[in-house]
C-alpha cells in the first residue's frame, strides 16, 4: 500500500504530464526515497496507482541505473569510473574504498551502511576523481579525503 504522503508526492508528478504513466520513473524515485529500494510489492503498488501493469513498470524500473530493485545500504556510494576520473586515479580510489569497506563494487556492507556502485561520468571532470554519496558530490578525491568523507555518513 502506498502511504498518503507517497500518493501526494506522486500526484504532484502526475500533474506535470499528459499521461499518468509518464510519472513512472519519478513515482519509483519517490517510493524508493521512503523505502530504500523497490520491492516487487512496491512496484505493484506504484503500477496500480498509475494504471500500469507490473511488467510495464518493471521494464521502466530496470532501464534506469538508479532505481534499485534489490535492497541497498543506508548510503549509496557512486564512484565515477568514466574516462577523466579513470585517468586521474579512479582505480586507486576504488581499491581504497573496497578495502576500507570490505566489499566489492555492487555489494553492500554487512552492517547495511554502504552500497558501492559504479557511476558513469558525473560531469565534474575538471575536479577528477569524484564520487557521490547519496545526493552529495565529492571532488578531487585522494584516499585520506575519502576516509574523512565516509566517516560523515553513519
Amino acid at each position: 500500500m502506498l502511504t498518503d504522503e507517497e500518493k501526494r508526492e506522486i500526484d504532484v508528478e502526475v500533474a506535470k504530464y499528459h499521461r499518468k504513466s509518464a510519472a513512472g520513473p519519478e513515482a519509483l524515485k519517490i517510493v524508493q526515497g521512503y523505502r530504500g529500494w523497490i520491492s516487487d510489492e512496491s512496484l505493484k503498488d506504484v503500477a496500480r496507482y498509475l494504471d500500469m501493469t507490473d511488467d510495464e513498470l518493471d521494464a521502466v524500473a530496470t532501464c534506469y541505473n538508479f532505481i534499485f530493485r534489490k535492497p541497498v545500504g543506508r548510503h549509496i556510494v557512486v564512484i565515477c569510473d568514466s574516462v577523466s576520473c579513470w585517468i586521474m586515479g579512479y582505480e586507486q580510489i576504488l581499491r581504497h574504498i573496497e578495502q576500507r569497506l570490505g566489499i566489492q563494487m555492487g555489494q553492500t556492507t554487512g552492517d547495511g551502511r554502504f552500497t558501492l556502485l559504479p557511476g558513469a561520468c558525473l560531469g565534474a571532470c575538471d575536479k577528477a576523481p569524484v564520487m557521490m554519496v547519496d545526493d552529495d558530490l565529492h571532488i578531487e578525491l585522494d584516499p585520506g579525503k575519502v576516509d574523512d568523507i565516509l566517516d560523515r555518513y553513519q
Binding site: S21, P25, F66, V83, A120, G123, L137
Partner: protein, 428 residues
C-alpha cells in the same frame, strides 16, 4: 592597444564558487529584456534571426538550430499541444559544460527556454536534468518558480496572448536519455530507447506532438541573439559558425576547467593559453576534442579550429567541445577500454550490432590490456569501427563509441602491437 573585453553571452553572470544571481539581480543585469523584446516580435521573426545567426547545436551534433525549429508545424493548423524539451542530460564522459550554465545562471536557462518555446509556439517546456545534477535541478526549479511569480511563465506572459507552462524532470540515470528520442521516451515514462526516424521529433515528438529538443548551451545563446541580432552573434566567432563556445579540458594539464571563447578558437590556444599545457612530469600524447564519442587528435592538429566544420576535416568531431587529454603515463589501450566499457554498459540493447558488438570490442580490449591479445584482434577491432559505424545501427551511440577506437588504432597502433608482442601492458 587594448581591445574591448570579449562579450560572453553564456557566462557573463557566472561567478565561480558563488551563488548564482537570483531573479531580481538577473533582471538588474539585463535579464528578461530579451524575452520582452521577443514578445514584441513574431515567432517567425525569431526563428529567422536564429537561422541567420548560424547557431549550431552544442549538444554534439552541430545541427543548425534555426533549421531545426523551421520544421515545427506552425499556426492554427499545427497539432497541439507543442513542446520544448531542454536537454540537460549531460552524461557524455568528459563533459561538464552544461552543469556550469545550470548551476551558474539558472535564470538564463529558463529565459532561453521561454523564448524558444515562444518561437515555436510551444504550450509546455520540460527541462530534462540528469539525476546526478542535484544542485542544478534545485536551482532550475527555483528559477522557474520565480519566473512564474514575475509573470514570465504561466497564462498571458507579461500581458501578451502567449501562455507557457514549464517543468523540471530529473529521471533516474541512463546515457540514452541524452539522445533526442531516448529523452522523449524517458519523459513519457518509458525505457529511454531511441525511436525510428523519420518522423523527427520536431514533427512527431512528445506524446506524438511537435517537440523541439535542444541542448542547454545551444538555447543559452538565444537571448543574446534576440537582444543583439544575428550579425552581432556571428561577430563573436572566429569562423562562420556563430557565437562563442564553452570549451573545457580535463586530464593531466596545469589548469582544468571551462572557458567561454570565440567559436573556432584553435585547439593549441585552448591547450597552451588556457589549460597551461601539461602538468610537470607528464608529456602530451593525444586528446579527444569533445567527449568520449570523438576521435583522437595529436599535437599536429593544434592549429585546427574548434568548430564543427574544421573538426570534421580532422577526422574527429567537435562533439561537446570538452577536451580529454591523454598523457604519456596513461595507457592508450586501457583508456579506450575504459571508454568502450562505458558504451557497452549504456547500450540500450535494442539493435544487435550495438548490443553484441560493443561488449565484444570491450572484451577484446580487455584481453589485449591483460596481455592475452592476438595479432588477429586488431583486425577484428578495426572491422568493428565499420560494423558499428554510422548507418549500421539504430542510433548514434555505437557510431560515437567506435570513434575513439578508430582514432586509437590509427595513432597508437604501435602501443596495441606492443601489448600483443610483450603479452602485457607496458604501463603496468
Amino acid at each position: 592597444m587594448t581591445s574591448a573585453p570579449m562579450e560572453k553571452p553564456l557566462t557573463k553572470n557566472i561567478r565561480p564558487g558563488e551563488e548564482p544571481l537570483d531573479i531580481t539581480e538577473y533582471e538588474r543585469a539585463g535579464g528578461y529584456q530579451a524575452l520582452r523584446k521577443a514578445l514584441q516580435m513574431s515567432p517567425a521573426q525569431i526563428q529567422q534571426m536564429v537561422a541567420d545567426s548560424n547557431l549550431k547545436g552544442r549538444g554534439g551534433a552541430g545541427f543548425p538550430t534555426g533549421k531545426k525549429w523551421s520544421f515545427v508545424p506552425m499556426g492554427d493548423k499545427a497539432r497541439r499541444p507543442k513542446f520544448v524539451a531542454v536537454n540537460a542530460d549531460e552524461m557524455e564522459p568528459g563533459t561538464f559544460k552544461d552543469r556550469l550554465l545550470l548551476e551558474g545562471d539558472p535564470n538564463l536557462v529558463v529565459e532561453s527556454a521561454i523564448i524558444t518555446s515562444y518561437a515555436i509556439e510551444a504550450d509546455a517546456a520540460y527541462i530534462f536534468i540528469r539525476w546526478a545534477y542535484k544542485l542544478a535541478a534545485q536551482r532550475a526549479t527555483k528559477a522557474i518558480a520565480q519566473a512564474y511569480e514575475k509573470g514570465y511563465l504561466g497564462r498571458n506572459i507579461l500581458g501578451s496572448p502567449y501562455s507557457l507552462e514549464m517543468y523540471v524532470h530529473t529521471s533516474a540515470g541512463r546515457y540514452l536519455c541524452g539522445e533526442e528520442d531516448g529523452l522523449l521516451n524517458a519523459l513519457e515514462g518509458k525505457r529511454a530507447i531511441p525511436r525510428t526516424k523519420p518522423p523527427h521529433a520536431v514533427i512527431v515528438g512528445l506524446w506524438g506532438k511537435p517537440t523541439a529538443v535542444n541542448n542547454v548551451e545551444t538555447l543559452a545563446n538565444v537571448p543574446y541573439i534576440v537582444s543583439n541580432g544575428a550579425e552581432a552573434f556571428k561577430a563573436l566567432s572566429h569562423t562562420d559558425e556563430g557565437g562563442t563556445k564553452l570549451y573545457g579540458i580535463s586530464g593531466r594539464v596545469k589548469r582544468t576547467g571551462i572557458w567561454e571563447l570565440p567559436m573556432g578558437t584553435t585547439l593549441g590556444e585552448i591547450f597552451h593559453e588556457y589549460a597551461g599545457g601539461m602538468l610537470d612530469g607528464y608529456k602530451f600524447r593525444g586528446l579527444l576534442p569533445g567527449g568520449a564519442s570523438t576521435s583522437f587528435l595529436l599535437e599536429d592538429h593544434f592549429d585546427a579550429r574548434m568548430d564543427f566544420s574544421s573538426m570534421d576535416k580532422t577526422g574527429s568531431r567537435l562533439g561537446t567541445g570538452t577536451i580529454i587529454v591523454l598523457d604519456d603515463k596513461t595507457c592508450p589501450v586501457a583508456m579506450v577500454h575504459n571508454l568502450e566499457q562505458f558504451f557497452a554498459r549504456e547500450s540500450c540493447g535494442w539493435c544487435t550490432p550495438c548490443r553484441e558488438g560493443l561488449p565484444w570490442v570491450r572484451n577484446l580490449l580487455e584481453a589485449i590490456e591483460q596481455g592475452q591479445g592476438t595479432p588477429e584482434d586488431l583486425g577484428i577491432l578495426q572491422e568493428h569501427t565499420w560494423l558499428l559505424g554510422l548507418g549500421h545501427t539504430f542510433c548514434a551511440l555505437a557510431p560515437g563509441a567506435v570513434m575513439p577506437l578508430e582514432g586509437a588504432l590509427k595513432y597508437f597502433r604501435e602501443d596495441f602491437e606492443n601489448h600483443i608482442r610483450q603479452q602485457r601492458c607496458p604501463w603496468r
